[in-house]
């Protein structure tokens, strides 16, 4: 490793910290900039950052070790992050990973001697309809094949930039071809509904909102019975009301664009095609709860949209839809900034997202107090999902009566579904709430699927007998993900993939989640090796229930769902691989003494 001139480094890191006003609440931005500049945030750099921001070293180190895209060890100048999602595995991940290792001449977890390339794994990057996908030099590369991998690595070695390589491979549809995006990502917007992807005039919702009182705006949202689109389904109007009425300092509106649930990519397409609608929703919410600041928390995986989104914000400022006296409403001042994430599934949890925005590890907080009471910097904070805010804008623009016509019962409006896996037309669908899974499968062209994962790994694994269940809050709730598994797929290896995902994404704060995710993974390994017994199944169910009832946040409470829902709906798959003898444990003495035999040169006498 080349010697780093500490003195020079000190000056440079001071300068980086100064660009963020030396504020410790902007620590994520500072470490991201350091990571981008040096390909690492090393120990000496951590020292210097803590000095520049006058904060404890351990907090800086805690943050660096928390996020996927920050690394103490030096990464390549063109870091490759290949995502290991279940859908990627189904679409040829193994061959693509082997091609990366062969082309780069290194293994995953290593850096090439010339420090050009590094290979790392990461969780789902929101490209499930175009897998296998990787982030290379920060840009998404989708639909990878071994051939493409070889040509990409060759291109990087010959000095081409990732952007040049994207141009060569061809940019995607819609705004992916926008001059400020130029990405090879495709929207695959298969079906536009009448709420989110229908035509929208900039400012229409906001002008309507400011013609009403904030209370009337909230009343309209309440009457629409709009509920949180992230999956949990909390009534949006009620949340706005709580936040408006909360005592405290300034109020904040957060838009949660940290969609990390594998198989979910609805926010990506909304932000690509309808960013105005999302920002308009944030501004309307700002008016309703009397906030002056909006923050869009964008996951790092979507950084390729940043310049484009900043441009949209700038245009809205010019058009008078952001800034002082928004939409001509005297005294209503509101602006939006974008906070980048640094790679962590848990940051989609609202209190973890707030912690991250405050420059901390993305650990969830204890609740109460809820963010609407005490959120960002202790202020009342409204956190809504991207799709929720976009829908809220349309509700305010067109009225609750217009909105509730779509959907059914307590699940009003439309819902975006991101469909991936074994179907002919993967992509994004805007459908009325309340449709049965079977009908959706027909629409997306899924033939004879054996299973559907509704809501991603934290959701529900359903079999054919449940295909008449409906996508809505009262039945199958989903943040958008719908993953289809064809007849030939090995459900056990998919469940194992999900178990690995939760194990690596658990923030580690509480025991049931930190330990439970690891134990479940070990159980699956045991079963997959043919050593599973009946008792293992019983214990998985028992522990899964403990995780559900005692974990601190939604991650741990749902992390056992892949095992629990497959044990309920696909039990025979497990039964085929275990020994149905309650006295067997799967313990193998020969394996357990192998190391001792080697160390001593002795052998175990036959039992």
């Amino acid at each position: 490793m080349q010697e780093i001139n500490l003195k020079a480094l000190q000056g440079e890191i001071k300068a980086i910290a100064a660009t963020e006003g030396n504020q410790r609440t902007r620590l994520i931005n500072v470490v991201r900039k350091v990571q981008a500049a040096y390909g690492q945030v090393s120990d000496p750099m951590i020292d210097l950052i803590s000095e520049a921001l006058s904060m404890p070293r351990i907090e800086v180190e805690g943050v660096v070790s928390f996020y996927h895209f920050l690394s103490k060890r030096k990464l390549g100048r063109m870091p490759v992050f290949l995502n290991s999602s279940a859908v990627a595995e189904m679409m040829g991940l193994k061959e693509v990973a082997a091609a990366f290792e062969k082309a780069a001449g290194i293994k995953f977890g290593e850096v090439t001697p010339d420090e050009l390339l590094s290979l790392s794994w990461t969780s789902c990057i929101g490209m499930s309809d175009q897998e296998p996908a990787a982030l290379i030099g920060g840009l998404p590369f989708v639909r990878l094949t071994p051939e493409k991998v070889f040509s990409i690595i060759e291109g990087l070695r010959s000095g081409k930039s990732p952007q040049e390589l994207v141009e060569k491979l061809g940019v995607g549809d819609g705004n992916n071809a926008h001059p400020l995006v130029r990405s090879m990502v495709n929207n695959h917007l298969q079906l536009s509904g009448q709420v989110l992807f229908s035509s929208f005039t900039n400012g229409a919702a906001l002008r309507k909102a400011v013609s009403l009182t904030p209370e009337q705006v909230i009343e309209e949202v309440k009457r629409s019975r709009l509920r949180g689109r992230g999956g949990a389904g909390f009534p949006t109007g009620m949340k706005w009301d709580f936040c408006r009425k909360a005592q405290g300092g300034e109020h904040y509106v957060f838009c949660n664009a940290d969609e990390g649930e594998p198989g979910t990519f609805t926010d990506r397409v909304l932000l690509t095609e309808k960013p105005e609608l999302v920002f308009e929703g944030m501004t309307v919410a700002g008016y309703a709860i009397d906030a002056e600041h909006g923050i869009l928390y964008l996951r790092q995986e979507y950084q390729y949209l940043l310049a484009y989104l900043e441009d949209v914000l700038e245009k809205r400022r010019t058009a008078g839809l952001l800034g002082k006296n928004c939409a001509g409403k005297a005294g209503f001042n509101f602006d939006i900034r974008i906070q980048m994430g640094a790679g962590a599934y848990i940051c989609g949890e609202e209190s973890a997202l707030i912690n991250s925005t405050e420059g901390r590890r993305g650990d969830p907080r204890d609740r109460p107090p809820f963010p609407v009471q005490s959120g960002y910097l202790g202020n009342p904070t409204l956190v809504n999902n991207v799709e929720t805010l976009a829908a809220a804008a349309r509700v305010v623009e067109n009225g609750a009566e217009w909105y509730i016509v779509f959907g059914s019962g307590q699940s009003t409006g439309t819902k975006l579904l991101s469909v991936s896996g074994d179907c002919r037309r993967p992509g994004v669908y805007e459908l009325p709430m309340g449709l049965p899974v079977r009908m959706i499968l027909a629409v997306v062209g899924a033939e004879n699927p054996q299973a559907v994962q509704v809501g991603g790994p934290s959701g529900t694994f359903i079999a054919e007998k449940d295909f008449d269940r409906k996508i809505c809050y009262d039945d199958l709730s989903t943040g958008g993900a719908l993953i289809v598994f064809g007849a030939d797929r090995d459900i056990m290896s998919i469940v194992y993939n999900f178990a690995c995902f939760f194990e690596s994404e658990s923030c580690g704060w509480c025991v049931p989640c930190r330990v439970g995710t690891r134990l479940l993974k070990a159980k699956l390994e045991k079963i997959n090796q043919g050593n599973g017994t009946l008792r293992d199944l019983a214990e998985m169910e028992q522990w899964g229930k403990i995780m559900k009832s005692t974990s601190r946040c939604g991650l741990g409470q749902t992390a056992a769902n892949p095992e629990l829902t497959t044990l309920a709906n696909f039990r025979s798959i497990y039964q085929h691989r275990i020994k149905e003898d309650e006295y067997l444990t799967g313990f193998d003495l020969k394996t357990a003494v192998a190391e001792a035999c080697e160390a001593t040169g002795r052998y175990l006498q036959d039992e």
Binding site: F587, A592, V593, E595, A596, A599, T600, G601
Partner: protein, 179 residues
């Protein structure tokens, strides 16, 4: 009435749980009315005389002999009870589980600062140590678990009498609370 037969053993444990069994004080006379001790360090009987009703296991498995003893207990005892932290979770001996076994051996017998002319112990009399310390239920089926380090005499007494007489054991919260 035919007395129930009971067997006990200490695997990778410290005999603390056995001390706790003896801690039932004068109740041991009542116990003697209820049971007959078979293989156990308490009476120093080395071999099973026949099938037993209850086996009490202290300690986890750290070497192949532990595994063999435990398997023999499973075979000879109708009901097997893990007694204490080490049997339940591996306990103190399992502290080595985070360190590869060969590394442990090297540090202890070859590279340690106080080692002179070291060699890894290799007498045929010594059991082979396992790659890690296993809790008993990972090696054989265990029917009941008594937590504690050690479980209190009252807990052992209550559970054992409950098991032997078929009445529901009276286990107030204080008996199984450890924080």
């Amino acid at each position: 009435m035919v007395k129930a037969k009971i067997a006990t053993t200490s695997l990778a444990g410290c005999f603390g749980c056995h001390m706790s069994i003896l801690d039932i004080d004068e109740r041991i006379l009542k116990l003697a009315e209820l049971v007959e001790f078979d293989k156990s360090p308490i009476n120093d009987i080395k071999r099973f005389s026949g099938q037993c009703d209850v086996g009490l296991i202290e300690g986890g498995c750290c070497n192949h002999e532990n595994v063999e003893v435990l398997r023999a207990f499973r075979k000879r005892c109708n009901i097997l009870v893990s007694v204490g932290e080490c049997a339940l979770m591996g306990g103190l001996p399992a502290l080595r589980n985070g360190i590869p076994m060969t590394e442990c051996l090297k540090e202890a017998y070859l590279d340690g600062p106080s080692v002179v002319d070291g060699s890894i112990p290799n007498d045929p009399e010594l059991p082979l140590i396992l790659d890690k310390v296993y809790p008993c239920h990972e090696v054989v089926k265990i029917d009941y678990f008594l937590p504690g380090c050690p479980p209190s005499a009252d807990l052992i007494w209550e559970s054992l009498v409950g098991l032997l007489t078929g009445r529901e054991a009276d286990l107030p919260y204080e008996l199984i609370k450890y924080d």
